[in-house]
Structure formats: C-alpha cells, structure tokens
C-alpha cells in the first residue's frame, strides 16, 4: 500500500465522521493552544528581560562594595543573601574618592562613579513626597543605561537640573511627561544645625525635644524624564526617581550618612561610599577588573553573572509552563485513543473486508496511524492558531490595563519563535502517533473471519 493511499484512506474515514474528528482534534487544539500560549509567554518574558539587560549596558558593569565579611555593604545586614553572587574581598579597605580614582585607573575600566544618594523631600507641581535623590555623573545619564524619553541628559557634571522618572511624575499628578520638562522641582534636604545643638545643649536632645535639624530647599529645573520600563531594569543601580548631577549635589547641605550602618563605619573611620559602579570596555574585561578590584580589598558583583542565573530561572519557568501545557495534551491523547478504539469497533467488518482482499497487518496499522496522526496535525495547527490568538487577546488586555494603571508603554509579553510552532505541531503529531499505537496494533490483529461475520 502506498503512502498516499494510506493517507487518503485515513482522511476519507475522518471526513466521514466529521463531528467526532472535530471534537477529538479540539482536545489536541486546546492542549497545544495552552502549550503554545504558555511557552510563548515564557519566551516573551525571557526576551523582554534579556532585551532590558542588553539595552542598559549592564552586562559591562561591576558593582564594587566595601570589602570583607565584617560589615554589610549597605542596607539591612539581616538580608544575608544580598548580593548573592558577590565576590567578597577580605579587607577593611574604604571605598572613598581615592579608591574610586584607583579603580578608574585600572586597565579596561571606562568609568567608575560612586553610588551617592540622600533622602530628601521632593516637591513638584504642588505635590510633595519623600524620595531618595541619586547623584549621577552626566556621562552615565547620556549612556544607554538611562532611557531618557523626554528632554535630555545632563550636559555636564556641573549642570544644575534634575532628571526624573515618568512614574514619579505620575505620582505627582503630572500625566504629560513632555510638559514637565522645564518645570521646577524643589529638593528639600535635612542637615544638622550645629548652632542649635550648642545653644540647646545635649540635655534638650536627650529630653525628647528632637534633634537639632534644619531643612533647606533647592530649586532645579527638570531637564529630562525617563520612561517606565515594564520589566524594571533588572538589577539596575539607576533605580532612583530623581537624579542630580554631582556638581549641584555637592552644594546641597545634607547629612553625610544614609543609614545607621554609616554611623558605625564613621566611628571606625571607614565611612566611604556604599557602592561604586564600574563600567568596563568589554564583557571580556569583567573578570580581570573584578579580580583586580578584589585584590584592592573590595567586594565585587557582576551583573552578567546574575543574568546567567536569570536565564536558568527562565529555563525552569519554561519547564513548569510546558508541564502545565502537557497535562492538557495528555488528556487530548487519551481522547485520541478513545476515538480510535471506537473507530475500530465501528469499522470492524470493514477491516475484515480489507484483510480479505489482501491488506496486510502493516497496511491496516498504517491507515490507523495516519488517522491518529492527521488528528494530531489538524489539532496541532489549530492549536498553534488558538494559542497565538489567545496570547494576542491576553497581550491586548494586559497592555490596556498596564497603560491605564501605570502608564507602562506597549510591550509584547509573548514571543513566537518559529521553532515553537513547528515544535508544537511536531509534538502534537508525535503524541497522536503514540496515542494511535495501541489502536493501530489492535486493528491490525483483527481476525478477518470473525470480522466478516460481524454485523
């Protein structure tokens, strides 16, 4: 029996029982649809996060923190796992201007700047909130690390002005980022007033009258607005909503500390920057720069390392999503087995006739294999269309709400690599063929004498 004839027999049989074929193929369609939808979501997330990483120059970045296990680099010491893949240096080296300059001079380093931020009250358009103001060199604001969509970056480190995020503007009631450029933003910092401390005496402080603090306000024009990233910026150090150039930042009177841990470090004469961001010329230079910095007694943390972990996490996520999709496919496969066994019972006599006129076991098997394979092919192709259409609808709905709620720009949350569709159809056919194994074997073993007597 020729290949085309077996296919023709199978299709004729399926065509004769259209409703049952449709219902059985629908099971495969739903299974493959769920599978495609889930995998395309996983791939979409991976693609978007990878793109966010790559677009931000972060692969070429090493974060340097004060060395050794003796003290936390910054933040809460109870959060032991952070940073997870940090390479720890052993010494008491202080991450001060001298160290930053030394790091800048290392071969392969294109830029090194300290992570300086201070708490302040920020007022814009009549609204006010407490924010952490981050000091950022002009060179960084004009790099790919920062996506300024409206306005511009700092022209120089001395330029008086601020760059704010779009989400900050939304909180401040400003929905039009372009209109915010040029408007004034007020930063109010807090500093110790030594005069009051002297006149009021320490007894006043201790009796609960409060610390002798004074606030000072500084006005800056908004120079640029950064866009909202729907996937965050990975472990982006540029996470503050308000950025200020080093020059004007130096002119703001403020406390020289940002946490109580800084007081401990200050006490031991080791108060330096909590972190320094180091850019290297190429990704290949990461390791050599990292090891040189560690030799200087600091702790390093390469974002590229974390990306490998992110990739592993996505791989795991794909596996979980695929497993969920597989459940639907297994159910569909059982549907195929059921349909094919029913088909054998209905066509028992026909199988007998075919055998009587010369069909071999292999011919009968082939016909039934083609039938189950055709159901798989039909369901697989329809499943790809269903999965694609469903993901489009979900994408539209999510984007609609994300844009309305948080102003997130339009993003494709799903990715459709061609291998996904080919693989899904191939998988559907494979599963269907496996599901057809038992029915095909059973059909081939039909005794023609018994079958011809069958009504």
């Amino acid at each position: 029996m020729k290949f085309g004839d077996a296919a023709g027999f199978a299709l004729a049989s399926l065509g004769k029982r259209r409703l049952r074929t449709f219902l059985t193929a629908s099971g495969v369609t739903i299974g493959i649809g769920a599978f495609v939808c889930m995998i395309s979501f996983g791939k979409g997330m991976q693609k978007n996060v990878t793109a966010a990483f790559q677009a931000s120059d972060l692969f070429n970045t090493v974060i340097v923190m004060p060395g050794g296990p003796k003290g936390p680099p910054s933040g809460d010491p109870d959060r032991q796992g952070r940073p997870r893949r940090a390479e720890t240096g052993p010494s008491d080296a202080v991450l001060d201007d001298e160290a930053v300059a030394a790091i800048s001079r290392l071969p392969g380093v294109t830029m090194a700047y300290p992570d300086i931020s201070f708490p302040a009250r920020v007022r814009f358009g009549g609204e006010e909130e407490f924010r952490l103001v981050q000091v950022m060199p002009a060179a960084v604001t004009s790099s790919r690390a920062l996506k300024i969509k409206w306005g511009r970056a700092f022209a120089s480190d001395a330029e008086a002005g601020v760059i704010v995020s779009r989400s900050f503007l939304r909180r401040m009631g400003q929905r039009d980022p372009a209109a915010a450029v040029g408007q004034t933003l007020t930063i109010t910092s807090v500093t110790l007033e030594l005069g009051r401390l002297l006149s009021g005496g320490l007894s006043g402080v201790l009796s609960g009258q409060g610390l002798p603090l004074s606030a000072e306000a500084y006005d800056f024009p908004v120079l640029g607005v950064t866009d909202i990233s729907p996937f965050g910026d990975g472990p982006n150090p540029l996470e503050s909503d308000v950025l200020l150039a080093p020059g004007p930042a130096a002119g703001i009177k403020r406390l020289p500390i940002s946490s109580v841990w800084d007081l401990f470090r200050m006490q031991s004469g080791r108060l330096g920057y909590s972190a320094v961001t180091v850019r290297v010329g190429s990704i290949g230079g990461l390791e050599s720069v990292g090891s040189r910095v560690r030799e200087m007694g600091f702790t390093t943390f390469a974002l590229a390392d974390q990306f490998a972990e992110v990739t592993r996490a996505f791989y795991l996520m794909d596996m979980v999503l695929a497993a969920v999709g597989m459940i639907a496919i297994v159910v569909a496969a059982l549907g195929i087995v059921n349909t094919m066994v029913m088909s054998i019972l209905e066509r028992y006599r026909e199988i007998g006739v075919m055998k009587a006129v010369g069909a071999s076991d292999g011919d009968i098997k082939r016909i039934f294999f083609f039938e189950s394979g055709a159901i798989g092919l039909l369901g697989g192709v329809a499943g790809c269309v269903l999965g694609w259409a469903t993901s489009l609808v979900i994408n539209r709905v999510v984007n609609f709400y994300a844009a309305r709620q948080a102003g997130v720009p339009y993003v494709d949350y799903f990715a459709y690599p061609i291998w996904l569709f080919l693989g899904a159809v191939g998988f559907a056919v494979l599963v269907s063929l496996v599901a057809g194994l038992y029915p095909a074997r059973r059909a081939a073993r039909v005794d023609p004498v018994v079958a011809l007597r069958h009504d």
């Binding site: 029996m1 020729k2 004769k16 006739v353 055998k355 009587a356 006129v357 010369g358 069909a359």
Partner: protein
C-alpha cells in the same frame, strides 16, 4: 514415463477446531481433498457441516489446527501473516454471501481495493477496475455506492473485486444466498464463464442442488466436518 500433474489445490488431513467456552468443537475433521486446475468444484452440505470453514482455510483467512493446504504449489498452511496477506491479495479471490462491499465506497473504488493493497498506481488501478466492472456488465454503475445497487449488482461488483489482482483461484462462499433464483443463476453462470473462458479454478460453497448440478464439475459433500462423498461431473 510421465509423472502425474500435481493437483492445483490439495489438502491433507485438514482439521480446524474451535474452543467454545471450555468445549473443543471440530468444525473440520481430517479433510483430504484434491482439485485439479481449471475445475469448478462445489462444496455442499448442511448448515454447520464445515463448508465455510473449509473455504476460509483455502482462502487464507483462517489457519488450520492440523493438516496441510497446498495451492498452486505454495504451502498455504505454513504461511505467516504477511505471506497469507500476499496470498489473499494475489493468489485467491473471494466472494461472500453478504457481498462484503464497503458501503462508503463506490463500486469502482470497491473493485480498486485489492489493487490499492497491491500498490498499483491510482491511474492504472482505476483503468483496471473500470475494465473489470465492464466485464461483469456494470460499467454504467461504477459511480454508485453499494446501497444504491441491487443484490445481483453488488455480487457482480464483488466478483470484479475478486478478479482485480488476477488470481488463478476463485472462492465463493454461498454467493447466491442473498439473491433470487434468476439472479443466482446469473451469478453462478458468471463464475462458470470465468472458469470456462479464463481457466480459473472455482470452488463454490452452495446448498442449491440444482445450480450446483448444472454448473459444477465436481461436488464435495461435507457432513459434521468430514467429506462424505465426492461426485464427478454432474
């Protein structure tokens, strides 16, 4: 000194038993038979005498419990499933009482069926099937499905189908059982014509004494699975 020609069909001590529950029932018991090539042999007997069992064994649809079957020099009783399928495809054409046509297929497609399993090209098999339908006088009914045909027409389609791959042996199991007497005569006449004109060996199971006497060269009578009488030319 010339050796006598071997019979076209030869069975030796052929037995077929079935298990019905725990009871072993002998449908055919120690049947030895020889049929010369080009003969028209009728097998008669009461219902349950083993006629159809013998025909199924000769047609390769069933395998014997004991004994041997040799057809045209091939030991059919020793064939495996694949070889039996090939034998049914090319060696023996079968006709049944209930026609056994596939209802969803046209007369032409039914005749094409053995050619499909023989791997004949679509164009070639359509031509051959149309030619066979013409030979049995049904060229005008080629596009009709079995339910649209009369009993006699359906049996003619079945005869054309049995001839598709050019077998030398034609086996007919009660081919007139579902037909009126006039049509029965036409069908048996058609088989006799094929036997006479093409030299096909025909073995027909029938209980219609008059037809058998008119057309068959030999009559084999079975009773309780055994041959009780063999009669020469009627």
């Amino acid at each position: 000194m010339s050796t006598p020609a071997r019979p076209f069909i030869e069975t030796r001590s052929l037995s077929r038993t079935y298990l019905v529950g725990d009871v072993r029932v002998a449908a055919l018991d120690d049947v030895s038979l020889a049929v010369e090539a080009g003969r028209f042999v009728a097998i008669t007997g009461a219902s349950g005498s083993g006629k159809s069992t013998l025909l199924n064994l000769l047609g390769g649809l069933d395998t014997p419990t004991a004994g041997t079957i040799e057809v045209d020099g091939s030991l059919v009783s020793a064939m495996d499933r694949e070889a039996l399928a090939r034998y049914r495809r090319f060696g023996a054409g079968m006709i049944f009482q209930s026609f056994n046509l596939i209802a969803a297929r046209t007369a032409l497609e039914n005749v094409e069926l053995p050619l499909v399993f023989a791997g004949v090209d679509r164009k070639d098999r359509t031509r051959r099937a149309a030619d066979l339908l013409d030979q049995v006088g049904l060229s005008q009914r080629a596009g009709h499905r079995p339910p649209e045909l009369s009993g006699g027409e359906q049996q003619r389609v079945a005869v054309a189908r049995a001839l598709a791959n050019g077998p030398r042996l034609l086996l007919a199991d009660e081919p007139t059982g579902n037909l009126d007497s006039r049509t029965s005569r036409e069908i048996v006449g058609l088989l006799a014509g094929l036997n006479r004109d093409r030299g096909l060996t025909v073995v027909m199971v029938s209980h219609e004494e008059a037809l058998v006497r008119e057309f068959a060269h030999e009559i084999v009578r079975l009773q309780d699975g055994r041959v009780v009488a063999e009669a020469g030319e009627a």
